[in-house]
Symmetry: C2
Subunit: 414 residues, 2 copies
Amino acid sequence: MTAPLHDRDSGTSAARPHDRHSGTSGARLPDTQQGMRRRNLSRVMHTVAAHGPLSRAAVASRIGLTRAAVSTLVDELIRSELLDELGPERPGRVGRPGSALAVSARGPVGVGAEVGVDHLAVCAVDLRGETRARVIQQVGNRGRPPEPVLRELAALVRRVCAEARSAGLSPAGLAVAVPGLVARDTHSVVRAPNLGWHDIDLGPHLPPELPLTVDNEANFGALAELWLGEGTPEDFLHVSAEIGIGAALVIDGRLLRGTHGFAGEFGHMPVWPEGPSCPCGGRGCLEQYAGEKAVLRAAGLEAGEDRVALLAERAAAGDKAVRRALGGAGTALGIALTGAVNLLDPRAVVLGGALSRLAPWLLPSLERELAGRTGGRACGVTVSGLGSDGPLLGAAHSVARAVLDDPAGVGAAG
Amino acid sequence: MTAPLHDRDSGTSAARPHDRHSGTSGARLPDTQQGMRRRNLSRVMHTVAAHGPLSRAAVASRIGLTRAAVSTLVDELIRSELLDELGPERPGRVGRPGSALAVSARGPVGVGAEVGVDHLAVCAVDLRGETRARVIQQVGNRGRPPEPVLRELAALVRRVCAEARSAGLSPAGLAVAVPGLVARDTHSVVRAPNLGWHDIDLGPHLPPELPLTVDNEANFGALAELWLGEGTPEDFLHVSAEIGIGAALVIDGRLLRGTHGFAGEFGHMPVWPEGPSCPCGGRGCLEQYAGEKAVLRAAGLEAGEDRVALLAERAAAGDKAVRRALGGAGTALGIALTGAVNLLDPRAVVLGGALSRLAPWLLPSLERELAGRTGGRACGVTVSGLGSDGPLLGAAHSVARAVLDDPAGVGAAG
């Protein structure tokens, strides 16, 4: 069995899963033999996870270390039950047959959870990136006090952990995606307007034995896109919507979190500065034109459950009012994206969440506006294939990847 | 004498001076003994540069290595003429007196150059951050072909280098700040509308013996603010103006460059989307309200030389039209900054260049707009103390800091 990776009360370790996606988490450690060993353990894990099964010699050649050095690292990772030796490679090759290495199918799993406005979800992902357990519960959380919501979430987390343990897996930590602002390096939801939550510390409500991370759903959605998206570049702006509109900027494979953890408040870019008042304090914010409420109003529809599906259905059926409403939202998105692209020069813009389901009717006006206003400076707009699964998967993978980033944490504690 | 650090034709090394400001340039090298040695050499140099004179023991304690390890590194840096031993420390302390180390006053200098619309400037900065030579030439460059401009710049560079060499210094590289877009990791100005330049490779026009970097003036201005500004945080948005308006985002002490090197086109954030056409292809861009031309027009003044001084003078004298024009520019800046702050959550906004001279009349409306629209989410606006010197100093310091970031480059070549 492996032990938890990080202490819950370490702000740094809580922040780490989101900061990087490759084995460089030790770059700020004092540069000692010990720091070098930890980084090299991480390189071995990431290499086998991404390209395995691989022989020791193949790992050595990929990461530029000697085979002897790699063998020492591999032995340590096998002892920690993070790598498995699959037995001799296919015979008939020159030299002594190497034994292929693979990431263990037992060992640590990352547990991800999502508090949605309409649902709760929890899943467990192993170090190979496979989902090993998953539950979803439809429940209207808007306006409910946090305590019962988090009690239900904790019960789902315990159910998924029990299922994982019965398969020989060991939950390494819990990451929770919430639809609101989370103060950087804390477990506190500062503001989640669509839940009606203010200044809620999730820590006391969740299983204490699991190291905890809490973050905005848009951030986890962008990380899922980075790690799991087909051909996603390492530099992109991820724009997603459920009820509100959020964004996350990934640069060189790292998430830009902002000083307070509030970066990505894309829904509050001013679009028409004298436009309608917004609860944020501004006027004419993007959300006033492209948020779910604004689009439903423009389409003449009532608020209610799963309105995105209704909008998509009506638009597909040719409903003129719905198409006009989505076209208007696309124009507003295009103007706001012009500002973001001029400021940030991302390689691509990826539309996720509800925006991916409505993309066919948003994209024409969005792209017209963006291309016209940026003088054709290339920035493609693509649509995420993860749909609404992004935040949950991003949360679970962030914990699993933190193990790959610092496998020595497991070995030292085990 | 020391030798040049990097080959001119290495795209990576050309980009390096701007990417980081502390000794982590080796973080992507294979993690070998050699890579570790280079990073530790850099740590010693940065520590002595920032806190020296220091004894070997004090360096060891600051960077978390043993005194023996530090001594080996220090001996190598003394042999490369990057560090000096100042003789025994003050006596009367326990143990054998240590010898204080300081960054050498000879050795490498970084050469910075600036192509302005109204001037050319070149300076040399040593590893201690002191300016050792400097020339400025007033000359109207608007609409001049690049060749004669760059010929004059090259002559100024040679003059500064000769002066540096006669003081026992060795120019380690040249960084040139230009008022335009520079393609990332190249020496090519893609577009400099206020000079009238398109697709100009500066490389062939400048002294071939100096490794060259070329970048946008707003980027170098932001780096100068990071390295030299009083109390500047490691995360800030630097907004500056000369003729156009540019911005640069610094995150964790690193510049966000953008995929193509075009990040920071803040002047082309849409403010009023149906506003006047902009040469960029957009409508209602910030520059149409807060650029020099727009402000002069709104103030009823003609274009001409040093209009910023004229605007400041008239505003100080109470000229109502000028104050109204600057107030309007402040409002537009505040709306555009609202978008940037919502998207990026910087710790601070710093106004540089011409904006710093006009700040007293821009700030009231700018801050009112920003605070009103962001619901009081804290993001202070400060004014740079570097004024129009930022880009030139940022360029020169970027070369000097690249030596601190990889002192092994000097030792290996020397």
